[in-house]
Every structure is written in C-alpha cells, then in structure tokens.
C-alpha cells in the first residue's frame, strides 16, 4: 500500500510544500483511521501544497529503519524542515495540528 497520495487540489505556486510520510501496518483499523484523518486535515489546512507518502511496513519492514519507526501509525513531516514526528491514528485533531506546528502549541 506504499503510495503517494496526491492532493485533490493542484499544488499552488508560492505556498510552502508540505511533504508528509505516513507509516502504517497493512489495513489495520488504526492505519485506515490515520490515513483518513490525515487526508481530511490536509485538505482542510494544506489544500494545494501537500503531498502524502504512505509506507506500509508489513510490505517493507526494512523501511522502518530509515525514519526510526517504532509506533504505528507514525506521521513524519519531511518538509518543511525541521523533521517532526507524531504518532497515533490522528483522531485528536488539535494534537495533530500542534504536532505538525499548524497551530501553536500550548508551550509556544
């Protein structure tokens, strides 16, 4: 299921590109929830300037070493830098936005 999810809306020039990588394990409920949640959030907040790569570790377990993946699902923000990682099925939207720095965190 390793695939790149293209945004529904075309990438617009001028906006910063967000490149996100989601690590999942097959078709587990957590994985499916995570992908659905991610797509929804991206459309809402990053419409037009995001790209999602989904990596299924059941198919490619060796890829887990690249981003030091332990927990499933893990979302890695490759771009913009710095690299950020959040885990879980992304159901807590506020935490996802804080984790991805789309919203200022409580401490910031």
């Amino acid at each position: 299921m390793t695939a790149t999810v293209r945004p529904d809306t075309p990438i617009t020039d001028g906006e910063e590109l967000w490149y996100l990588r989601l690590y999942v394990a097959g078709q587990s409920p957590k994985s499916l929830h995570a992908l659905a949640n991610l797509k929804r959030l991206c459309e809402e907040y990053l419409a037009g300037h995001y790209e999602i790569e989904v990596i299924d570790l059941i198919e490619n377990p060796s890829l887990a070493r690249g981003d030091d993946i332990l927990a499933i699902p893990t979302l890695v923000r490759r771009l913009p830098e710095p690299l950020r990682r959040i885990i879980g099925d992304l159901s807590n939207t506020e935490r996802v936005l804080v984790g991805l720095r789309l919203l200022p965190g409580p401490s910031q």
Binding site: K30, S62, A64, A71, T74, G88, S91, R95
Partner: protein, 596 residues
Amino acid sequence: MTVTPGIATDRQRGATEPPVGRLAHLPKTPTGIHGLDEVTGGGLPRGRPTLVCGPAGCGKTLLAMEFLVRGIVEFDEPGVFVTFEESADDLVANVASLGFDLLRYEADGQLVIDHVGMVGGEMDDTGDWDLDGLFLRLGAAIDAVGAKRVVLDTIETLFGAFSNTATLRSELRRLFGWLKDRGVTAVITGERGDGTLTRHGIEEYVSDCVIVLDHRVTEQTSTRRLRILKYRGSLHGTNEYPFLIGESGISVLPVTSPGLRNAVSTQRVSTGVARLDAMLGGGGFYRGSTVLVSGTAGTGKSTLAAQFCNAACTRGERAMYFAFEESEAEILRNMASVGIDLRRWVDAGLLQFRCFRPSLLGLEAHLFAVQKFVSEFDPSVVVKDPVSDLLRVGTVADVSAMLARQVDFLKAKGVTSLFTSLSSFDDPAHAGEQIASLVDTWLVVKTMEGNGEHNRILSVLKSRGMAHSNQIREFLLTGQGIELADVYVGPQGVLTGSARQAQEAKERSDGAAWQEDLEQRRVNLERRRESVEAQVTDLWREFENEADIVGRLLSHGSTGVEDRAGQRAEQGRLRRADPDESALKVRPSDVEIGGK
C-alpha cells in the same frame, strides 16, 4: 541460602555450589560466557526473555553482546541486537577490543544490529497507536538472519519517547509475549531504578529469569558482581559472583567450582631442601597440594620458594613464579647470591615470572589474571610471593575468599602451589591464620634473637596427610641454597647461630676430653694389670720357696721329738757357755752396720 558476598568460607562454598544440570527438562540456551553457564546451570531459558539489570556502567550491554557473539561463534545461533542507546558504530567500536568483529558477523549474515534512535524527544500521540513498527522491524531482522537470540538494549529508553506510558506498558507486555512466540532467547537490559530493579518496572513483564549486575567500590577497588535473582523453573546459584571484563569478554567467577571433588595424588614433589623433605615424612609436599610459608621479614620465604621452583625445573617440570614485591631481575640476582641459578630455567623456558603489584588489579582481576597465566603456561608448580600483599587490595575476608577460589582452581589443575605470607614480628602466626585453613601444609619460618644475633628457624606447623616432624630446625642460607641444621635445646631454650656453633664446639671438645680420659683409664688399667701380674708372680715364687723348704724338711726324715731334744741340749750348752762373739759377728746385718 544467600551468602553475603566475599565472606564465603570453604565450607559455605561447598554447600552453595551452583547446581548443574539437575533439572534437565527446562531447555536452556548456553550463553558461552565464561562461568555464567555454570552459575545458571546451563544457560538462559531457551525461547524466553531474560532481564539483565543493574546500574550504569555495570556491563549489561557487554554481557548482552557477548551472549549474541558467543551464540554466533560457538553455537551457530545468529542474533539480532536492537540498541536504543548507543549507535551501531559505537557498539562495533566498543566491543572490537574484545575481539568481537561485529561487522564481519553482519557481513556473514549472522548478526543484525538495529539502532533505534530516539531523535526528536517525546512524540505527541494523537490517538491510538501500537508498537507494530518495532515488531515489524524486529521480525524482519530475525527473519533476515534466522536469529535464535535477540537483545533489546535498553528498551526502557522508550519511556522517554512516548508520553502515553499506559499504552507503552501494554505494548511491552505484548512484545515480550511475541518474542516468546517467536521462540527466540532474548536478553533485555534495564537500568536500575530507585528501589526497583529497573526504572520503569519492566521486571514485571520479564519474569522467567532475572540477572542483576552490580558494580561496587570497596576500599578503592571496584568489583563487578553478578547474581541470579530469579530463574523460574530452574535451580541456580544464589550467591553474588564476582565477574570481570577481561581481554576476551566477561568471566564470571568462580569459573571452577568442583565442590571439593578434586582428584588427589599421593605422589610427592620435593621441596628442594632434602632435610625439609625428610621433615615432611620423606619426599616433600603432595603433588597438587597447597603450601603456605609464613614468616617475618627476611626469613628466607622467597628463597624457599625459589628453591622449590628450582627443584621442579630440575625435574623438568614447569614452574610459574608470581612476585608482588620484586622484579624478575631482582629475584634472579638475589637467588644467584645463595647459589640458586634460576636464570637457566628461564632461558630453558621452564620457569616464568609474573611480577606485578597487586594494587594494579582488583582482587577479581588478580584472580582472573593468575588463572589466565596458569592456563596458558600449564605449570606443575606455582609460587605466589607474597599473598599477604593482596591484603592491601582487599579485606581479609575478600582475600581469603579469593584465595579459596584460587586454591580450588589450582587443585583442579593438579598444580602444587606455594604461597608465602609476611607476618608481623609480634605475632608470626597471625597473618597466615586467615588462609591457613585453605592450605595443606603450613611452614613457619621466623627469626630468633639471642647472643646478639638473629637466626632463622623453620618448623612444620601442619601438613595434612603425612607424618611430619615436630622439630624445629635452624634454617641456613648458604652459598648452595637452603640448608637445615639441628637446633640444640639447652637451659636457655633453643640454641641457634653462634650459640649452636658454640654448643657444637663444646660438645666436640667434651667428646675429646672423654676420649682422653678413657685412654688414660685404659693405660692405668694396663699398668695395674701388669703390677697385679707381677705380684702374683712374686706370691707364686714365695709359695714355691716355702714349698721347697717344706719338701726338703720332709725328705730329711727327722722327727719333731729329736729336734726338740737337740734344741734343749743346745740351749743348755749356750746358757752355760760364754757368748761366742765371733758367731754374732757373722750375721750379715751386723757386718753391714759395722762396715759403716
């Protein structure tokens, strides 16, 4: 039965020896680590996780790594090392000094090192998650090399990465269950927490076997210790066992714990001093026995030890001399001065010196070093000169416990060992007392003061299994090595040195006088015999004269009656007649007197 570390006496050692192979039904995976398999009765539980915990720097990572490497090298069991702390490069570099070539094992497809980095600190969690990522990574690594052994070092680091510890705990529990399902023998390390075995209490999930490592400093000497806290379904040694990280990995001691079941020999080995051999019932020490020579400073302990080595080398056997106070060159020179030429044996490869200060190593390292040297050289006699120096490194209890293990080791190898021990002037027997029960033969040398000089004396305090002399001998260092001389016991006590020589001279002169006296008496007796014989001859002569007279009288036939009548007639004639002057004058005495 738990025994406080360090003070195990030989009796206790016998009682708490690690049980070996009594419960064969629990499959075990040998670690290949020196001594650990003896202590665990065969290794770690096969197909189950074992927790190895202890404070920082106690050797957890190394023990885990050696477990994998020994598996690869000795048991053909590939392994996976998941490191949560050190990077793979660091690990490779850290164990390279032990001869573990991790890169080669990786290249050969026998080892996977997976470094799980905890970059970016705590990860926010945004909903449900699990550790499938780790499971998949681990599963892939296990499959890649067909691993039978897995190490997770140190998995508790995960507690710093995940805020949801409830999920993490349940996932760890699942992980250990999963490892069991995979049938791999796993070692999980954990750092000691406050009052708990591990910081986050993961011992709760890993309950089959728990090994606790410790690293303590007593009297400026650090000692690593290992204890099997728990081993479900198996007997195991319960003591704290010292262990070392040596040049070739970990060694858990005692490596030899035969439970006092050494083979014994009735063969004797010469002490190198003929009269000492005689004092020990003829022949010397038993082969494989342990000898203690204790004495005050300058009593010739080292010389006795050197002569013992010399005798062994003369027989063509190998000897090893551990010197803690003198260098090899000093010993060779000093012994040459008393006529013991050790250099030829060194040159011939029969004698090896190992000279170092005991304080250079801790007690355990010392024990290990001695075992290593002895195993390599395989000598038939070993000298340690002096063991009392070890007391500077550890307490008396620790030293005697260490020596007990050493004695076991040497006896198991059939090595005859001689330890010297320096004792104080006040109480010559004291320093040896602590270790005297370990040894089979105890010789005491001391100096006696008297006549303005110090003289050495030697006695056999004990010697198991042989009729030994109870006498004190004077111990002489001559140009031809050690000689023993009889001592004299006089009204002033034992005579040694010049007093002994004076006594010997006196006895010699007394002897001469007695000889003279005898001769004189003999001569006198001879003279007396001659005079007696002369007297006898005279008596016989008188007797014969008289007998002659009597014989003549009888032959004349005259009777007494006639004679008496004649006498009377003669008397009458003389009384009437005038005295005949001329008749008187013819008497010889009168003539002589008259002649003057």
